[in-house]
């Protein structure tokens, strides 16, 4: 499968967190851990205020730094997804240090987890869980040529040098 992109339409996201909880429910994580977070950014002074939300999770980078640093070979890039094999994970935390999105989580059980791109569901022809959960249809998972690049924001994304598979539209 060729590389696909997570597309976040920031003109639509209302920060409702349905994606956060849908993802957490699927992953079966402890209460205080999430694989998908929504950053809430409030700017300006009353009454000229503004705010936006930024959906953050593993963006399955084209050049994933986590894969390069994993000493156990637990991380790999395959079929457009960065996979983490929990059986091989030695819980060293090297991947966490290099991920610009804080998207790799250490579990109390002694291994790490991350967004797997819902590859099992995607391979069944479904959309990823977070995309299906989005009431606003702000999230989508698309191939590069499907992306409307009108107002594509790339440069201000931290870690853009790793070519994260995400596009924020604004």
């Amino acid at each position: 499968m060729s590389q696909r992109l997570f597309v976040v339409d920031m003109d639509r996201c209302i920060g409702c967190n349905a994606c956060t909880i849908a993802c957490k429910d699927r992953a079966g994580l402890p209460d205080d851990l999430d694989l998908l977070r929504v950053e809430r950014v409030e700017t300006g002074l009353y009454p000229d205020v503004d705010m936006h939300y930024r959906v953050m999770h593993c963006f399955h980078c084209e050049k994933p730094p986590c894969v390069d640093v994993c000493p156990a070979g637990a991380l790999s890039k395959d079929d457009g997804f960065v996979h983490l094999n929990v059986e091989s994970c030695i819980n060293c935390g090297e991947c966490r240090k290099v991920c610009p999105y804080d998207s790799i989580i250490e579990l109390p059980e002694g291994f790490h987890v991350k967004c797997d791109g819902c590859f099992d569901e995607v391979s069944r022809g479904w959309e990823p869980t977070c995309v299906r959960a989005c009431l606003m249809r702000a999230l989508s998972f698309k191939s590069l040529d499907e992306v409307d690049a009108r107002h594509r924001i790339e440069k201000d994304i931290r870690g853009h040098e790793f070519r994260p598979s995400v596009v924020y539209l604004h």
Partner: protein, 700 residues
């Protein structure tokens, strides 16, 4: 390995929506909650995608606050000390008390206090089961008036002759201007696709304006935020109307052909009634909205067509809520947007057509509305009722938390001899009960569930998991009580829930197999435009008013002690001695007080009091620190959110978190209704957005 079964369902909260969800079930347990996987969006019938509350429900399955057996109180009321008893012991005692009270005082001595913790069923849950039960038992005391939309309901009846609902959401796609006036669907929902259609309209070029004391989550998608002082909406309307009048932007043809009473309102606008011209400069002082902003807003609203004026219910939860609701309808008439596709006004705000299925038969007793929905406790405490309330029978209601003035609600309950509470959860209200009866949730029972503002839908909720502990349905409890009180046959006709549902469906002409299998029936037609027929021909399709037209001036208002026209009246009662106005909006993380205990939801956003940085600075309050909020009736401790997203002079606490008194009796749960008072509007409307407070640092 056992197969995963995918069972469709919808929630039964008072949340403003009925959405399409799917439970993944394995070994009789819900292992995940999801949406349908098929893509079914089309332009007018998009998927009803569930919100964060529905998605988080798995975390409530083993809630420590779930009641698992019947309980009898052993400690003082409110102490939370109970002993477990058997169903027979509990039901025998309740039946004995019911009989004894009716014999001694009459059935009206029973206060049937229902809430909306479990709604939308066909007679087996919450008030749908209990009101049927009491219809066979006797005329009981009930609450009157809607806690949600009393003001707009009364106003709509006066001005339109009926409670006209808004247009279908899909018609927003034709809007070129959408004004969200005290309306925040990102948090209140009110239709699973309201936000979606607004975003779609915006993508097609519609401008979105948010008029609200807070820059709400909805504000993200608004092109303009107009902060306004709570309770002054009718003044902003008057100034917008003044500009439209002065600049000849009023749709005089619509006014002349479809309304009566406008000349009287016009005289008010130009100062002929009270000597005050309702200029933008006048309104700036009242509302806090800058003069030039009012002028621009008036021009935009008068000239960009069609324009949808979507008023929420917050503005009408004030001392003069009827006036703001009437004023907003009047403004829609002046711009000629009434009955127009893509225009319109919200009214009660939604269209819910439903798919008719039969109803269960009822007995002959009617309840008596002896107390107000919001302020029942004042009536209980002033000893004016004859017979007095001797039993509070509380069903699906976190009554003390949900009604204004929690402290007073508790004092009123303490006066009542016997309190029964039927609920899945040991709520703060259940702590005051003598007997708590454990009810199962909608995952644990079967029902037919109607739709909400989203077009015609009917849902079939299968029982997905076994009842937790000894919990039972409300219907089962009332069947057992009916047997003890001698009307089992009348109440049940010998049927359980599933047999009733089969009976109702058999006598319908619906695709019953499809409904059972898919969990949902859809009947989509052309999206409806409210008042379109009236607009087309007001003589042929008159309204149910005296004149058949929209009555901008109405004598009924005068009879209720209000001005005959929808003029602005200053809030009077709440402000004495307190400098900050309090609003208590709906959180996206709870449905009223339901789901409060869900740790997944709690973690998403800390529960705080919002305070503007200027108000915080003069009080030395820092972001995140615990503050004490006090009003004339109570106090609560809660972290402060120091923010630019709220107007100076206004503070905001989301309602619905559970009352949690410390050992000194100070609420530490940030329960908004600890602070709200029993102020009502002229016609008895819930007016908690008229309350004022002070916020102080807590010095340790």
């Amino acid at each position: 390995m056992p197969e995963i079964e995918y069972v469709p369902f919808t929630c039964t909260y008072n949340c403003g929506s009925r959405c399409e969800l799917v439970a993944h079930v394995k070994d009789g347990k819900i292992i995940r909650i999801d949406t349908p996987t098929a893509r079914i969006d089309s332009e007018t019938t998009p998927r009803l995608v569930p919100c964060v509350k529905g998605r988080a429900r798995r975390r409530n399955l083993n809630d420590p606050e779930r009641v698992r057996t019947p309980l009898r109180r052993t400690g003082p009321r409110g102490s939370g000390q109970f002993e477990e008893i058997t169903w027979d012991e509990a039901l025998d005692e309740v039946a004995y008390r019911l009989k004894k009270t009716r014999d001694e005082y009459g059935s009206e001595a029973l206060f049937h206090a229902t809430g909306t913790g479990s709604i939308a069923g066909r007679g087996f849950n919450g008030s749908s089961a209990s009101s049927r039960f009491f219809s066979y038992w006797g005329s009981v005391t009930e609450r009157t008036g809607s806690m949600s939309y009393h003001g707009v309901e009364v106003a709509s009846e006066w001005i339109l002759g009926e409670v006209v609902q808004g247009s279908d959401r899909a018609t927003l796609l034709d809007s070129r201007l959408i004004i969200l006036w005290g309306n925040n669907p990102a948090e209140t929902r009110m239709g699973p696709n309201t936000n979606y259609f607004i975003a779609e309209a915006r993508e097609k070029g519609a401008r979105v304006v948010l008029i609200d004391p807070r820059f709400t989550d909805r504000g993200v998608l608004a092109d303009q935020w107009v902060p306004i002082k709570p309770g002054t909406d009718a003044a902003l309307v008057a100034a917008m109307a003044y500009v439209m009048e002065k600049e000849r932007l009023v749709d005089t043809e619509f006014i002349e052909t479809h309304t009566v009473g406008y000349p009287d309102y016009r005289r008010y606008l130009i100062g002929e009634k009270d000597g005050v011209e309702k200029t933008p400069a006048w309104a700036e002082k009242v509302t806090g909205v800058p003069e030039d902003g009012i002028t621009r807003l008036a021009r935009d609203y008068a000239q960009i067509k069609p324009a949808a004026l979507l008023a929420g219910w917050g503005p009408q939860r004030t001392e003069y809520g009827e006036q703001s609701a009437r004023a907003l309808i009047t403004l829609a008439c002046m711009s000629g947007n009434v009955g127009l596709r893509g225009g319109g006004f919200a009214g009660i705000g939604y269209r819910s057509k439903g798919i008719p299925v039969g109803a269960l038969p009822r007995g002959s007793y009617q309840p008596v509305g002896r107390v107000n929905s919001a302020t029942w406790a004042s009536t209980v405490l002033d000893d004016s009722l004859d017979p007095p309330i001797k039993i509070a029978y509380i069903v699906a209601s976190n009554l003390i938390n949900r009604c204004p003035d929690t402290g007073k609600n508790i004092r009123a309950l303490e006066q009542i001899d016997f309190i029964v509470c039927q609920d899945p959860y040991l709520t703060p209200t259940a702590h005051y009960a003598d007997i708590v009866l454990p009810i199962c949730t909608d995952f644990e029972r079967t029902d037919l569930i109607g739709s909400w503002p989203q077009g015609s839908r009917l849902f079939y909720n299968h029982q997905i998991i076994e009842e937790l502990g000894e919990s039972r349905t409300d219907y089962w409890v009332f069947s057992e009580l009916a047997e003890r009180l001698g009307f089992y046959e009348e109440y049940t006709h010998g049927r359980n829930e599933k047999e009733w549902i089969a009976f109702l469906l058999e006598s319908s002409e619906l695709d019953v197999e499809g409904l059972r299998q898919d969990g949902i029936l859809r009947q989509d037609g052309e999206p409806e435009v409210a008042l379109a027929r009236f607009r087309a021909d007001p003589r042929k399709n008159p309204l149910n008013t005296t004149t058949g037209l929209i009555e901008i001036s109405c004598p009924e208002a005068e009879k209720a002690g209000l001005p005959s026209i929808p003029s602005y009246v200053e809030l009077k009662q709440g402000s004495i001695g307190y400098p900050l106005q309090l609003i208590t909006p709906t959180s996206r993380l709870r449905a009223r007080s339901s789901l409060h205990t869900n740790p997944w939801l709690q973690r998403l956003e800390p529960h705080t009091v919002w305070i503007n940085s200027k108000d915080a600075a003069v009080r030395g309050i820092k972001n995140g620190e615990i503050v004490e909020v006090t009003s004339g009736v109570g106090r609560t401790r809660i972290p402060a959110k120091v923010t630019e997203r709220i107007m100076p002079g206004v503070v905001s606490i989301y309602h619905g978190t559970w009352y949690q008194p410390s050992s000194e009796g100070i609420d530490e749960g940030g329960c908004a209704n600890v602070l709200t008072s029993h102020i009502t509007s002229a016609t008895g409307g819930f007016a908690t957005h008229s309350d004022w407070v002070e916020v102080r640092r807590v010095d340790n």
